[in-house]
Amino acid sequence: MVTTHTALDPGLIQSAKRGDQAALGAIYDCLYPSVFRYLYYRVSDQEIAEDLAAEVFVRMVERIGTFEQRERPMLAWLYTIARNLAADHYRLQGHVDQMPLEESLIAGETYQPSQTIERRQDKDCLAKAMENLTEEQRQVILLRFVEDRDIAEVAATLGKNERAIRSLQHRALAALNREIEKERCYEP
């Protein structure tokens, strides 16, 4: 029934639009983990990410009547909902959606990627590093290296051509490299 993450079966979406519980459940099973991971790298908190991911699918149910897969894939649409929910979450928390850039830097210290023995090599550090990427850069990193999609799938999900995605991937890796250094995710 569910074919790929990128493009769901149109019949499945039509069934979901009619309120079919099985279809809605299948879409949830397929896309919930990706939505959760997107949110995890936005809010850096397991429980909050789980709760917001569940809310994304409640919103999906409420608005699926307006969704058209030919305009963009379901996952891209859910990412947009998740992004707005994460922004609302930050507003409610009075939290600034940007980490201080200088917070983790120690004057005079430099960190080379070559010194790749993990210092803070965990997902929390990566999450903090990703917070300072642009939305498109974050989505490319997530889809390419967390969700392990190829260039064609990422292009379909984000509604861009493959050349644009390759260029975006280059910029995203360069930006993430800088942020990882700042967050001291590598051992010096």
Binding site: G19, A54, K123, F145, R166, H170
Partner: protein, 346 residues
């Protein structure tokens, strides 16, 4: 950005994906090795970080939450309707949903508070009006809601354009007035009433109109020449003891019967046209009451005396001419605009 470099980067990323090392890839592109190194290490780092996974209980709870939302939405939203139910059903459900949101839900689409307040007030007025009409159904003359009842009757009459239906409604309202009078008499509840009915009997001090006994007194104004069997309109006062004192009785012409009825109690009903006869009533009982004997010189000051026929069947007593004249002049003036006769009893 260099497209060639981006293709090389993508090639190296594919090599890493299938298990080659970073150094193997850099060896394949020595000229770009310096630039590629940090990017490939970053990509490897991200791939090496365990992907965060949601807990199983959170997955199940989230799914249940979504399906609950779907169930509740299916009762409201159009997407849950069968396709065969058609556009009308879909839009009607959507309109009802929006209306519900408008009235009770949270503020949406920039809707102002004032708009919602206005809508709420309109609904309160409509509901309040309907409740008042319902509550006034059993009110009697003198009650606070009686005017609501009469006004609603007028509205119904105004809205009934078909003549047969209108006549039927008039009959229903006449019967309702008679029931009100009977109820007030039974309760001994004082108040002024007005009703139409068939004149069934005429006695010295009491007439019977549709089974209701109406007391006739010297001050009672009789307009026209009511006869048994005719429809008369009675304006009367119910006394504490349950008796009815007639204030005015007049017979109804066919034209008058078609006039929307009832008329508001607060409005004095002028007689549109002079009564065809000024003959004092009654004519069949012996009378020594002073009666008006019009003459050319001593005619009463009726505005329409030129068009009025003179009294025709009044008993004539030569010896009471002066008294008659005096009495009837006073009577006519006391009647004011009522161009009817003044029933005087000894």
């Amino acid at each position: 950005m260099n497209p060639d470099f981006e293709l090389i980067l993508e090639d190296c990323l594919k090599r890493l994906r299938i298990g080659q090392s970073t150094e193997e890839c850099l060896a394949a592109y020595p000229d770009q090795a310096e630039s590629l190194r940090s990017l490939l290490l970053t990509a490897s780092h991200v791939r090496g970080v365990p992907a965060p996974q949601p807990r199983s209980q959170a997955i199940l709870a989230g799914k249940a939450r979504m399906l609950d939302a779907a169930k509740s939405n299916s009762k409201q939203n159009s997407f849950a309707l069968p396709v065969s139910s058609g556009d009308f059903s879909r839009y009607s459900v959507r309109i009802l949903t929006n209306l519900k949101t408008l009235l009770f839900g949270k503020e949406i689409y920039g809707m102002k508070f004032a708009l919602r307040l206005t809508l709420d007030l309109v609904i309160i007025l409509i509901v309040g009006g309907l409740l008042s009409i319902n509550a006034s159904a059993h009110s009697l003359p003198g009650d606070t809601l009686y005017s609501v009842k009469r006004t609603w009757e007028q509205v119904r009459l105004s809205l009934t354009l078909d003549d047969p239906d209108r006549l039927q409604l008039q009959d229903q309202i006449r019967e309702l007035r008679l029931d009100e009078v009977r109820e007030m008499i039974q309760m001994g509840r004082p108040g002024t009433v007005e009703f139409q009915g068939q004149l069934q009997s005429i006695n010295a001090n009491e007439w019977a109109v549709s089974g209701i006994r109406v007391g006739m007194f010297p001050d009672t104004i009789v307009v026209g020449n009511p006869e048994i069997g005719q429809t008369v309109q009675v304006r009367a006062r119910v006394q504490n003891d349950g008796t009815l004192t007639a204030l005015q009785v007049r017979n109804q012409t066919q034209t008058q019967l078609l006039v929307p009825y009832p008329t508001p109690l607060s409005t004095h009903t002028p007689i549109a046209t002079p009564a065809p006869s000024l003959t004092p009533w009654p004519t069949h009982e012996p009378t020594h009451a002073p009666t008006y004997q019009p003459t050319q010189q001593h005619g009463p000051n009726y505005n329409h005396h030129d068009s009025m026929p003179g009294p025709t069947a009044a008993p004539h007593d030569e010896h009471h001419n002066d008294d008659d004249h005096h009495h009837n002049s006073g009577g006519s003036s006391s009647m004011g605009d009522d161009s009817g006769s003044h029933h005087s009893k000894p």
